[in-house]
Symmetry: C2
Subunit: 213 residues, 2 copies
């Protein structure tokens, strides 16, 4: 039952709305108008109203929006009212940092397992999770049924493991590799984090700033 497709631009703004509304709530705000929120977030009031109206009528004319209620609604839209079981593939430096650094529960996930090929890493503890050998992937997934995975392995390895993970029932990937999952697996949900590209973009910014002086 697809509603008339929400644009990607809108979707990318939702987590930020959710964060700001959380801050407002914590600071005792009960109501807020689109204009006031627009000033805090650096957007236009028009855009904010358009964005919210993609999902329904959350405000009240003459009043504005109820902060807690709006936040709750956006949380529902984002699927933060449940926790999808998730596994980490690749528990090296980066994988470990990501697994321990983020609050998965407040972002719609629960990290229930971690895997690596390296015998030096297998057995390591990440919070209350123990890193398992990748050979145990199938039996683990059969039993625990995770549907999301974090990919923190080299590109080459990702190409090889992606099929395997999809066969194990993984439907969503948080992809830190440069392997383009969407091409081979158009039916899964992919969120790419290209740290290298991000750093390169910073280089561009610095470079072009200097030229404009």
């Amino acid at each position: 039952m697809a509603k008339n497709a929400i644009s990607n631009s809108v979707i990318r703004r939702l987590p930020r709305y959710y964060r700001f509304l959380g801050d407002l709530e914590a600071n005792g705000y009960v109501r807020i108008s689109s204009r006031e929120l627009s000033e805090k977030m650096g957007l236009t009031a028009s855009q904010i109203r358009q964005d919210f109206n993609c999902f329904g009528e959350f405000g009240q004319q003459g009043y504005g929006y109820n902060v807690s209620e709006l936040r709750r609604q956006i949380g529902m839209i984002l699927g933060l009212d449940k926790q999808t079981p998730m596994i980490l593939i690749g528990a090296g430096n980066l994988g470990t940092a990501i697994a321990t650094h983020l609050d998965f529960h407040n972002r719609g996930f629960e990290l229930i397992g971690a895997f690596d090929v390296n015998p030096d890493i297998v057995g390591k503890h990440l919070g209350d999770i123990t890193v398992l050998d990748i050979s145990e992937l199938e039996s683990f997934c059969h039993e625990k049924k995770p549907t999301a995975a974090i990919l923190c392995i080299p590109k080459q390895a990702a190409e090889n493991e992606a099929d395997r993970l999809v066969k194990c029932g993984i439907q969503a990937f948080w992809n830190f590799t440069h392997y383009d999952l969407k091409i081979a697996h158009s039916d899964v949900v992919v969120e790419n984090v290209h740290l290298g590209d991000s750093l390169t973009t910073l280089s561009y910014g610095l470079n072009s700033m200097e030229k404009n002086k």
Copy 2:
């Protein structure tokens, strides 16, 4: 000498072009047409030609583009022909992983220092860098003149340290915090990496996929 402003959409595609051209070069490609590249990258040939023409005429009618030459040109545009000295602020789990995981040299930077407040972390080694106490920031910057910084500290701390870093001559931030640097410091270059928002977006994708079944 600002050329007629390159749009953000184009800029965000440049690192990916650079990557693909590097792969092509490694695979022995000498020339490539916009059509062939478009098929490999999942873009339109039109967009590719438009993008490249923002910066000059890199191709040749009837022939296409010379892979190495095009890659070199894009590298120049991205500022990858030099290395900007960069420091890491916050050498916890995430900061350490980022510092050790990325190839800074090929992305226009050189990591020359790292700082933390935590005495347990100060003195730790990251490659050939030793983590210094944050109190040494000013003297270090005075001597080594870094102009870019990675922010891997809590939001609260970022609010406090941003001014200090700008005073020390930092002009570009790779920002892993949720603190909005652009608001207080409109004159610096900021590249945000919001891992939490990225994970939340994945939750949305999974959630909306399920609803559409």
